[in-house]
């Protein structure tokens, strides 16, 4: 009997096992897989530039064989603007953490949307600042304990940011969605979102944005199983999955 490969290492993944640093059960590499696979399916690998300013996502820079950039925290959005404006024929994906996009990068985020910048931003939402030790992020859920909300997030610290809903109100935005990979079905749906977002860039419509709810077992002090459950039972109810904007023209 012949064997045919159904799924394995993403094609665009460069082998650096020594440098694959994500914690066991971390879903960062899951969204990376989705992105790499869609890039592959769209055949744009050769003209892709990946930009990552999400902290725990720096593995992306290490594991891709595509052109890549690793600017500082909070700068991946503006940096992507600079790259895309100079290389309009290139395919630009910028990864940000939730702290990255919803906190320090929020001004860049809103204005990239307002200027209708023609690239795709992926926000990996693990509900806190993982890299720096698990502090509150704007996305942190009510009641969630972090190192800067030791008693849990209360209303005095505000409410969880809903970035796709917010940016969907901005005219320059062509696509906005929230996905997760808590189930295989949601994995596949998220992949569809990512593909649509990329297509908006290829069609030069406007800014495209996908938020990804990402389990962070280490930062949450949970087993991987508990972390997936948390995504399902806590995050998704507060931050519902789905598409919030999908237009083919901005006028």
């Amino acid at each position: 009997m012949k064997k045919e490969l159904v799924s394995g290492l993403p094609k665009l993944w460069a082998h650096h096992p020594a440098e694959r640093l994500e914690c066991p059960g971390c879903q960062y590499p899951v969204i990376t897989r989705i992105v790499y696979d869609v890039i592959d399916e769209l055949g744009v690998e050769g003209k892709t530039i990946l930009i990552n300013s999400s902290a725990c996502g720096y593995g992306i820079v290490l594991t891709t064989s595509m052109d890549a950039m690793f600017p500082n925290h909070g700068q991946g959005i503006d940096v992507a603007t600079g790259v895309k404006r100079l290389l309009p024929d290139c395919f630009i994906i910028s990864f940000g953490g939730d702290g990255d996009v919803a906190a320090i990068g929020a001004g860049a985020f809103v204005n990239a949307g307002q200027r209708a910048e023609k690239y795709t931003l992926i926000m990996v939402n693990n509900g806190h600042f993982a890299m720096t030790g698990g502090q509150l992020a704007p996305t942190t859920l009510m009641g969630q304990v972090t190192t800067t909300s030791p008693e849990g997030r209360g209303p005095d610290m505000g409410y969880p940011a809903r970035m796709p809903e917010m940016i969907a109100t901005v005219q320059g935005v062509a696509y906005s969605a929230r996905g997760a990979a808590n189930t295989p079905a949601n994995f596949l749906k998220t992949k569809k979102y990512v593909k649509k977002a990329f297509q908006k860039q290829i069609d030069n419509v406007g800014f495209s944005f996908v938020e990804f709810l990402s389990a962070c077992p280490t930062g949450w002090h949970m087993t991987p199983q508990e972390s997936i459950k948390w995504v399902e039972e806590k995050m998704i109810p507060a931050l519902p999955l789905g598409e919030f904007k999908d237009v083919d023209t901005l006028d």
């Binding site: 009997m1 012949k2 064997k3 490969l5 159904v6 394995g8 994500e22 960062y28 994995f187 199983q225």
Partner: protein
């Protein structure tokens, strides 16, 4: 009957157990006594006979440790 098989790379596996959780056919399990060279629990393909080669264990694996093969008639 098995429609395919999977190969788990012990260099990559970090023992998170997602493959176990998500395999619809319960073909994968973490065996208490098996460890990767880096000391993580290692998952194993324990019930190959039911594998449908659906690919789920592979794409849900954060560490890209699983290859799924489908048997094709020649």
């Amino acid at each position: 009957m098995a429609k395919g098989e999977i190969v788990i790379d012990e260099m990559y596996c970090r023992g998170c157990g997602y493959c176990v959780d998500f395999c619809p056919k319960d073909c994968v399990a973490i065996q208490e006594d098996k460890f990767t060279p880096q000391g993580y629990p290692l998952s194993s393909f324990v019930r190959p006979e039911d594998c449908t080669a659906c690919g789920i264990c592979s794409f849900m694996c954060p560490h890209h440790a699983i290859e799924v093969y489908r048997y094709v008639e020649e």
